[in-house]
């Protein structure tokens, strides 16, 4: 009886479905942590640019940051499906910076430089995440 219970627990632990769910959850948690850090950095940058630059620059920065978050989400989704449902990383996410530059170039109220800075705000969040990542 005891042996069969142990065998059942051991089978549960080695079940590929459970392991796969755990690994996906780990990757999803990583994305969530990066998203939170990105949101915090974006809020800080927007507040600083409203206070020290002007409102149009802050709006451009916010638009760029939203595009950066969308780009990063698409990239993470593409990497998440690598080796499972696709054998290569898709390039769909590159449409996001193209659309951002086109929108900013067409609207005279928006500025290009703050939008690009806002778009690249995902990089500091990645650096912060991987600097303070707990080593387990």
């Amino acid at each position: 009886m005891e042996a069969s219970k142990r065998l059942k627990i051991s089978e549960d632990l080695e079940s590929p479905e459970i392991n796969s769910v755990d690994l996906s959850a780990e990757y999803a948690l990583l994305q969530l942590r990066i998203f939170r850090i990105n949101l915090a950095i974006t809020a800080f940058a927007v507040v600083v640019s409203v206070l020290f630059v002007d409102l149009n620059a802050a709006i451009s920065l916010l638009l760029g940051a939203c595009s950066g978050i969308l780009y990063f989400r698409l990239l993470a989704k593409s990497i998440g499906s690598l080796g499972k449902s696709s054998s290569s990383v898709s390039k769909v996410q590159l449409i996001v910076p193209v659309a951002l530059v086109l929108v900013v170039a067409k609207l005279p109220e928006l500025h290009l430089l703050p939008a690009l800075v806002g778009f690249l705000l995902y990089k500091p969040s990645l650096i912060i995440q991987f600097l303070f990542e707990p080593y387990s």
Binding site: L23, F72, L75, L82, G83, V101, L112, F119, Y122
Partner: protein, 82 residues
């Protein structure tokens, strides 16, 4: 914008995207190959491998984006247009 500036801008935009995509393309292919091999060898480390791959892809692809932005600025918001 005179015709020489227009022609030079279009050629420069093409070169910026084309040359800027070569290096990251090779790097991304090699990184993806390594990651998939690593996951196949050690499935229990999949989460960490994918996380590291995400970081490296984000940094590599930003080089492509720089070239793309330079090309788009040259085409749609050219600072040399008189």
């Amino acid at each position: 914008m005179d015709s020489i500036t227009t022609a030079a801008s279009v050629v420069a935009a093409g070169l910026a995207v084309g040359l800027g995509a070569i290096g990251p393309g090779i790097g991304q292919g090699s990184a993806a190959q390594g990651a998939v091999e690593g996951i196949a060898r050690q499935p229990e480390a999949e989460g960490k491998i994918r996380g590291t791959l995400l970081l490296s892809f984000a940094f590599m692809e930003s080089l492509t984006i720089y070239g793309l932005v330079v090309a788009l600025v040259l085409l749609f918001a050219n600072p040399f247009a008189g």
